[in-house]
């Protein structure tokens, strides 16, 4: 590239030649000779050479000015136009970018290990062609995204588009017509991601695994999914797109981990528990009766799943058995202000806002802001907690919100953050991140937020452990017992959803007696689970959902168990000294994770 470019520059030296020619001409024209037409007419004053030639000179001047104007306009397209709003709007149509990208090699996307054979996005040889390859395929398409010039790009391909196509080395940029792009390393663990997706496969749902306390996303799976290579198949892609518009609830293009609102169900009780402990109301007991609980000024009955009541019950037990009536009353006792404070610290919106996406959700350093936001900014999790009660917010609303029903809108990654807040050693919650190796920053928005005191966090962990040991998730976690301890909270949320015809993929419609068509809606019971592991020194926090899966303890908790096991196999989760089988040699400091540098104080076993 360097050599032919230099030759081209030599070629452009023709400009000097022209300049010399023009100079020569100017020099020759110092004293122009005006020929007199021999066929001069009667009126030489009017038809003489001076008059005729004046017009010629005038036209010449106009013409040369026009040519120079063309040159100026040429310059405008280089220096003036790019950067104007109008031009930026259409610059994406420049097919050159497309050619460059299709010829060049974008950077690879490495997972957290940084090893080439576990790269999430790389190149491979397909027959004799070198093609971009998404190694995890459909298991990670919501993370890696895809890249296509007609259909756009998504995920990391979108968020790090600039970096991935920015020349990686000067020497390569000098010799290659389409330089090699820079590699990106993300915090995803390829194996854990694949496993999380495997656990979800065949269901509709999502799972998010965060590293504690760094906030690194270790896995973020969404099911159903699609293979990114489908973008090359025009018809298949169009079908997918149409479906995503007609039936987003069942579309594989829907990112269920990051961008879909769900009701949190009982997992929300963890937030209420934090608020209760922070307010010094941890010792409060409420009565849970078989007849149900009625919020003030409300005639609507709040019942428990089990049907019967739990009687007089305390916070720890209420969380363990997931007592709705207790948390309905606790929510009322705490009031909106205290709950809203905790919610805000967790990054949850408590007021109605028009923000469609939470642009401040992530921490990242290398990505272009607009691109990153377009690819990964989730809709903001919301819980309606106005300052006081009114017509559209009654004590009943607060009561049902407190156990995760009502107008709550949560994303799965936000639920994972609730778990991460209590799993952290000191009650602090860091912003989640996907990008590996973000330099430490002093900026306030980069700092972890103190959600609760270390004591509160420890107490909530203790209670969540009871859920797993003897509460609503005890059955699912039985297989882990004695090996890795964990804490968690089940959730079961009722939603009314549209029913789709499995054949056509269109909403199912019935006709009523008048012949009017009505879309069939039915109740979906979503199973949720949030938690952390290991109990003694939490290293991961997670949240998962299985849509219409039934009870959280039976449908979602087993996925958590699978993830914990896999994380342990991969060395992401290391059991502390005391939990180890006695055969293993001792001596390593307790709780020090093997896979990552210990940047946080070890959380000792007790």
């Amino acid at each position: 590239m360097f050599f032919p470019f230099t030759l081209s520059l030599v070629f452009t030296c023709g400009l000097i030649l022209i300049a010399a020619l023009l100079a020569l001409m100017a020099w020759r024209s110092r004293n122009p000779r005006e020929a007199i037409p021999e066929d001069l007419p009667v009126d030489p004053a009017y038809y003489g050479p001076a008059q005729t030639n004046r017009w010629l000179r005038f036209l010449r001047l106009g013409f040369v000015l026009a040519l120079m104007g063309a040159l100026v306009l040429h310059g405008y397209w280089i220096y003036g136009a790019p950067g104007t709003a109008e031009y930026e709007l259409i610059a994406a149509r420049d097919q050159r970018e497309r050619r460059l990208a299709s010829a060049g090699l974008r950077g690879w996307v490495f997972d957290r290990t940084g090893s080439a054979d576990r790269a999430l996005v790389r190149y491979r040889l397909d027959n004799t062609n070198i093609v971009r390859h998404y190694t995890l395929g459909e298991a990670a398409v919501n993370v890696t995204g895809y890249s296509d010039f007609i259909y756009g790009s998504a995920g990391i391909e979108r968020a790090y588009d600039e970096l991935l196509s920015e020349p990686a080395s000067i020497s390569n940029a000098l010799v290659s017509p389409a330089p090699v792009g820079k590699d990106v390393q993300v915090t995803i663990d390829a194996e854990l991601q694949r496993h999380a997706y495997t656990l979800l496969k065949g269901k509709r749902g999502a799972a998010v695994v965060l590293a504690v306390p760094s906030g690194e996303v270790l896995a973020m799976a969404s099911s159903p999914s699609f293979d990114p290579s489908i973008v090359n198949d025009e018809n298949a892609w169009k079908t997918l797109k149409t479906q995503a518009q007609d039936a987003p609830e069942i579309s594989p293009l829907t990112d269920r981990a990051l961008k879909t609102y769900y009701l949190p169900g009982s997992t929300f009780k963890v937030l209420v528990t934090i608020a209760a402990l922070e307010s010094g109301m941890g010792g409060q007991k409420f009565t849970c009766s078989g007849g149900g609980y009625f919020a003030p000024n409300s005639r609507q009955q709040i019942l428990d799943d089990s049907g019967g009541g739990h009687g007089q019950i305390g916070l720890a037990d209420a969380l363990r058995v997931s007592c709705n009536q207790y948390f309905a009353q606790m929510g009322g006792a705490l009031g909106t202000v205290r709950l809203a404070e905790v919610a805000r610290r967790l990054g949850i919106e408590t007021e109605r806002s028009n923000r469609a996406r939470d642009a401040e959700f992530w921490r990242y350093a290398q990505a272009d802001r607009d691109d990153f936001v377009a690819a990964f900014a989730p809709p903001p999790a919301r819980v309606v907690l106005p300052g006081g009660f009114g017509k559209d917010f009654q004590p009943y609303d607060l009561a049902i919100e407190s156990f995760g029903q009502g107008p709550n809108q949560m994303t799965i990654i936000q639920l994972a953050r609730i778990a991460a807040a209590v799993a952290g050693p000191d009650g602090r919650l860091a912003k989640p991140r996907l990008e590996a190796d973000i330099p430490e920053s002093e900026a306030p928005e980069a700092q972890a937020v103190q959600v609760c005191s270390a004591e509160t966090a420890a107490a909530v962990r203790e209670m969540m452990r009871a859920v797993v040991d003897s509460g609503t998730a005890a059955g699912a976690f039985a297989s882990l017992r004695g090996r890795i301890s964990a804490g968690g909270k089940t959730g079961t949320a009722q939603r009314i959803v549209t029913v789709y015809d499995p054949r056509t993929g269109k909403p199912k419609v019935v006709k009523n007696r008048d012949g009017e068509e009505r879309v069939v809606r039915e109740e979906s019971i979503d199973a949720l689970f949030i938690g952390f592991a290991p109990y003694e020194n939490p290293q991961i926090a997670f949240a998962m959902i299985v849509e219409n899966g039934g009870h959280g303890g039976t449908a979602a908790a087993p996925i958590a168990v699978g993830i914990i096991q896999k994380a342990a196999e991969l060395g992401i989760v290391t059991a502390p000294q005391t939990a180890r089988p006695p055969a293993r040699p001792e001596g390593r400091p307790a709780g020090r994770p093997a896979a990552r540098p210990a940047t946080r104080p070890a959380q000792g076993a007790r």
Partner: protein, 536 residues
């Protein structure tokens, strides 16, 4: 009829002025050698770049193109020695430079297998092959062993990068011998020599001026027949435009008629010349426009109108007439616009020019039928925006190319002018600007300016009205054409589909341009002849 001065009977001619040093042929020989050197550098750049991008341009064809410099030097010596040429050489050098740039850019485009195949799937194949070649190159040179191992199972690269030798339309010796492109530059130089030889002669000029009217009619008739009977979409027998040279004849006859009549036309009452002279003149002058109208070659019409108007202004110089003409043009334009409305094509060009990026309203009267036709063509209801995107693609991609080219350009062979349709001809300025940058564009514009400046100088120095008008007209022709072409590419003017003289690919237009050059230089030669004393 006017009489033409002949150098022979000039009374007491003053001693011919000494030729300035810089105007000696030897100086221009150096310039021409430099142009040839640039050409070689340009071809070398294209060939090297092609090697990087994965296709092998034919050296044989490069040689063929560069071989034109042999007759170029031949013509130069013929001019200097045999013809004892006395005028300026600037025209020749500048035109040669333009021609060289055009040749290099065309070589770069036509050796690119992606540009030089008509079949769409072959084109895609070529594009993909080029991309793969670069990928192999990148992997080989920039990837570390770890990555190679993951990709290939070992650190050894698989051998063959695919599709290295993609066929282009012309590649064998037989293609070279049979290609018309091999002979066009020679034909152009021949046309130059013939034109120079003829227009140098007083007898010929005299003869020409006397028979201007007959000449115009004789030219017009067969031309009109050919155009009306055989042409389709402004092209004759495929891709040729054999009527290009008739432009010269029209222009010469117009100049002759004007040189004959200008004194009468200048004698005006309220700005109106005596109808006895004005009417036949106007009719004859307007005639050549008719066939171009039939060809719907609006760009050509524009150039004709512009040149005719300029010549009239130079010869007659009545400000009030110019005002009339201006008002009449406006009135006729407004009337046409009000009654008939602009033709769809003109509307399209104007919308393209003024609102390149915005699709017109779907139900706009001029756009709706076009859109319907496009939809029929595509076979599905393409959206209004997408349809417009297709319509504006050429202009838009050309502008992106100019923008990406920057000051220095991407380097020959290293940009993507192959994206822009017909970038060898109408959009050659965009191709040159992308790969040679603002400097390359400036080179083309300045060389054109040099031709115009030298041409005007010739007109200023002309010894009689006829040659003065011919020189001014030809100069205006070349200059206007360049301005309309470049202006269309960079959105200074609406796009017209006119070629860039000396640069664009195109047989007849190149031959015509060189013939014009020959005439201009013949007049320059006459001007420099020893001069008779000025009367009065």
């Amino acid at each position: 009829m006017s009489t033409l001065a002949t150098t022979g009977d000039a009374p007491a001619a003053p001693a011919a002025r000494a030729v300035p040093a810089a105007e000696r042929p030897s100086a221009h020989l150096l310039f021409l050698l430099a142009v040839a050197g640039l050409g070689v550098a340009g071809y070398a750049a294209v060939i090297f770049a092609a090697g990087l991008r994965g296709y092998a341009p034919s050296l044989m064809f490069a040689m063929r193109d560069l071989a034109i410099f042999v007759p170029v030097f031949g013509v130069f010596f013929w001019l200097a020695r045999s013809q004892k040429y006395r005028g300026t050489m600037t025209l020749f050098t500048a035109a040669l430079l333009l021609f060289t740039v055009g040749m290099v850019v065309q070589y770069r485009l036509f050796r690119d297998p992606e540009y030089n195949v008509s079949n769409l799937s072959r084109r895609r194949e070529a594009r993909e092959a080029k991309a793969q070649f670069v990928r192999y190159f990148n992997v080989r040179t920039a990837y570390d062993d770890e990555k190679k191992k993951v990709m290939f199972g070992s650190t050894v690269m698989p051998e063959e990068p695919p599709g290295r030798d993609l066929p282009v339309a012309e590649r064998t010796l037989w293609d070279l011998v049979t290609s018309v492109n091999t002979y066009i530059p020679f034909a152009a130089l021949l046309a130059f020599c013939v034109a120079f030889r003829f227009f140098k002669s007083d007898n010929f000029l005299d003869w020409l001026q006397r028979r201007a009217l007959i000449l115009a009619v004789v030219t017009l008739l067969p031309f009109a027949v050919i155009v009306l009977a055989f042409s389709s979409e402004g092209k004759f027998l495929g891709q040729t435009t054999p009527w290009e040279p008739v432009k010269i004849l029209f222009l010469v006859s117009f100049a002759a008629m004007l040189a004959d009549a200008y004194r009468h036309l200048g004698r005006t009452r309220w700005g109106v010349p005596p109808l006895r002279f004005a009417l036949p003149f106007a009719v004859v002058a307007a005639l050549p426009v008719v066939p171009f109208f039939a060809l719907s070659d609006f760009g050509q019409m524009l150039v004709f109108f512009g040149v005719y108007a300029a010549l009239y202004a130079i010869a007659v110089r009545k400000k009030v007439q110019i005002a009339y003409a201006f008002a009449a043009t406006l009135a006729i334009g407004a009337l046409l616009y009000g009654v008939v409305g602009l033709p769809g094509r003109v509307n399209l060009r104007f919308h393209l020019w003024l609102h390149t990026w915005e699709a017109p309203a779907e139900d706009a009267a001029w756009w709706a039928p076009r859109l319907a036709r496009l939809r029929e063509q595509y076979g599905f209801a393409v959206s209004n925006e997408d349809a417009w995107y297709d319509q504006s693609a050429q202009l838009a991609q050309g502008l992106f190319g100019i923008s990406d080219g920057g000051l220095l350009g991407t380097g020959l062979g290293l940009g993507y002018p192959e994206i822009v349709p017909v970038s060898d001809s109408d959009f050659i300025y965009a191709a040159a600007a992308e790969e040679l940058g603002l400097l390359g564009g400036g080179m083309l514009l300045l060389a054109t300016a040099a031709i115009v400046l030298a041409g005007t100088r010739i007109a200023i120095g002309a010894r009689d009205m006829f040659t003065k008008l011919v020189a001014a007209g030809l100069t205006g022709f070349i200059g206007f054409q360049a301005l309309v072409n470049v202006g269309g590419v960079i959105r200074l003017l609406p796009m017209t589909g006119i070629t860039l003289p000396f640069v664009s690919h195109g047989g007849w237009s190149l031959i015509t341009s060189f013939a014009m050059l020959g005439i201009l230089m013949a007049i320059a030669h006459r001007n420099a002849a020893p001069q008779p004393a000025a009367p009065g």
